[in-house]
Symmetry: C2
Subunit: 337 residues, 2 copies
């Protein structure tokens, strides 16, 4: 066991696109667990687009990060020392941990990591992204067999699962992603019916018209902005739009404007719903059970994009906005013992 | 009985705001009903904002009007001659009729007008606007006691009913309308808790903050545009937005742009749903039954803004966009015999 605890702090709030200067690596001492607490050594950190919102000092569904404090996110770790009856030294756990080698966590806020799959899946297909895809698509999107489902950010941790679940439900699935390599993966390995490279498609509306000859019934939106405008122009009556992410807007220095497309929702009796996975916490167990079964049956595939070293966590996070990852972006911080 | 049938045609498609030049008054002969048809003499015509959409040659939930043909809308009339077993001479009926003195209608598409209230209510509180308010608010808005409901276009045929139903459900009700006279009516006669004159309020967001100290749970939107942007900036978690009309956008010559406010929906887990009353046709009878009961019990009030003379129908329609009406805008074409 090391004697120092490397930590990554939010050094300053980003203006627009974050840079490495917004982060700072420091060393601290390893803390001791108090009653009910568990000391956890980080194995994997999750970096996710929603974290960009927490870097702003703005009211949202989750508190902002504080400047000068350790960043925090979903993580998998191994218990070093426990003062909570539910956990023992050596257990592999998941929960919200700091961007640091060692975190103190309240035992009540930790979960045992899945045992039938690699522990990193607790941050992807069997974690927040998988549950986001599952509840967002099934509860809000409500895809019916034969319908057309479009997902933006299709090659990401959420999008890859959304598309596969939509295929399991008998839908035509069209992904929108930012590289031919991603789209080949979506089509060849994940069974998407079509995939559009929004960077090279030219006229995105035309590309969507070709990929969605019967219109669009469900849109799972991870991106927002121009891509979403183009999709909304093609929706069918009674379309369902899952607003899951708006990554195209997260790093804008000025609020963006765009076409007013509410009339398009109106004339199609469409529904758009903001989705926050935490609202589904009472149903996580049921969702995980079905995701796990699909995974074990080979019906769900996943890919991880792993960067090694806590010190590279900022780069891994920044890479999300450059679209570097296919599947789940992870930072490997340590190895299980 | 006259021997000529005055008709108002769509002379040309409006570019932007319609003018009287888009309409033409002509005279035709009075037609004879064929099998299953009924000849109806018009008593009242309804003019409604949605008709503006039908004047464009654009795909929507309802077919466009054809240039050179008689305009059409909700109407109440009296049967002159019937070749349908369900209707006899003298019956007062409602349905979609032409903007003309005499219309042929298929008997299967007519309804008997309500008998316990003035026949004009079949075009207002006991007709399409009343049902729009009823199903839009209750089914999509789902107001709960103590919640705050905001309605735009609050002094119109739909808005006045929305606000009163929301009061019946125990909500705080805030109307947005375009004159002090309208707002005084909303507060004093209809019991709205607050009413904002968007033309004189200055900072609409600030006015909403004062009128909605607990935020906004339900927004019934008849207007769109800047007003809707200001409301969306104040929504609570799990807010429901009923997209019923977007009158602020109907007469724009160029598609408008505005702030991208989907992130606001996202972070509040809000839902926005396009509402088209025709989707609720199987439940109209139940809705009318409750609206009628409220009317008879004095729990619902209504006001009509009546223009007399078929030849003034275009002016009555254009007046909708100038906000001239309080309550339901009607054109009185003839008297029952």
């Amino acid at each position: 066991m090391n004697t120092t605890n490397r930590q990554i702090l939010l050094a300053s709030r980003p203006q627009g696109m974050p840079t490495e200067a917004n982060f700072k690596l420091v060393e601290a001492i390893i803390p001791q667990p108090r009653a009910g607490e568990v000391l956890v050594r980080t194995l994997y950190l999750s970096v996710d687009p929603y974290m960009r919102g927490r870097m702003n000092d703005a009211k949202s569904y989750i508190l902002p990060f504080a400047v000068g404090e350790v960043l925090q996110g979903g993580a998998v770790g191994q218990v070093v020392q426990s003062d909570h009856p539910g956990f023992s030294k050596g257990d592999i756990v998941s929960g919200m941990l700091g961007w640091q080698d060692y975190s103190l966590a309240k035992g009540d806020e930790l979960h045992m990591a899945p045992t039938g799959a690699p522990v990193s899946t607790a941050l992807g297909v069997l974690g927040m992204p998988g549950l986001t895809a599952y509840f967002g698509l099934l509860d809000i999107g409500r895809p019916q067999p034969g319908e057309t489902v479009v997902v933006s950010g299709a090659a990401g941790a959420v999008g890859t699962i959304v598309g596969q679940i939509a295929k399991l439900k008998g839908c035509r699935v069209v992904g929108i992603a930012g590289s031919d390599e991603k789209n080949e993966y979506l089509r060849r390995e994940l069974g998407f019916d079509a995939a559009i490279n929004y960077k090279t498609a030219g006229n995105l509306r035309q590309a969507l018209a070709e990929a969605c000859p019967d219109g669009i019934d469900v849109y799972f939106d991870n991106v927002g902005g121009d891509i979403t405008d183009a999709v909304i122009a093609r929706i069918n009556n009674h379309a369902r739009i899952v607003l899951c992410g708006q990554i195209a807007l997260y790093n804008l220095e000025q609020p963006d404007t765009g076409p007013r497309n509410f009339p398009q929702l109106l004339i199609h009796s469409a529904t758009m719903t903001g989705f926050i996975v935490a609202n589904y916490a009472p149903r996580f167990r049921a969702g995980l059970s079905e995701l796990t079964a699909w995974l074990e049956e080979g019906k769900l595939k996943y890919r991880e994009h792993v960067v090694t070293g806590l010190e590279h966590a900022p780069q891994a996070f920044l890479g999300l906005f450059r679209g570097e990852n296919i599947g789940k972006q992870l930072v490997r911080v340590g190895a299980a013992e």
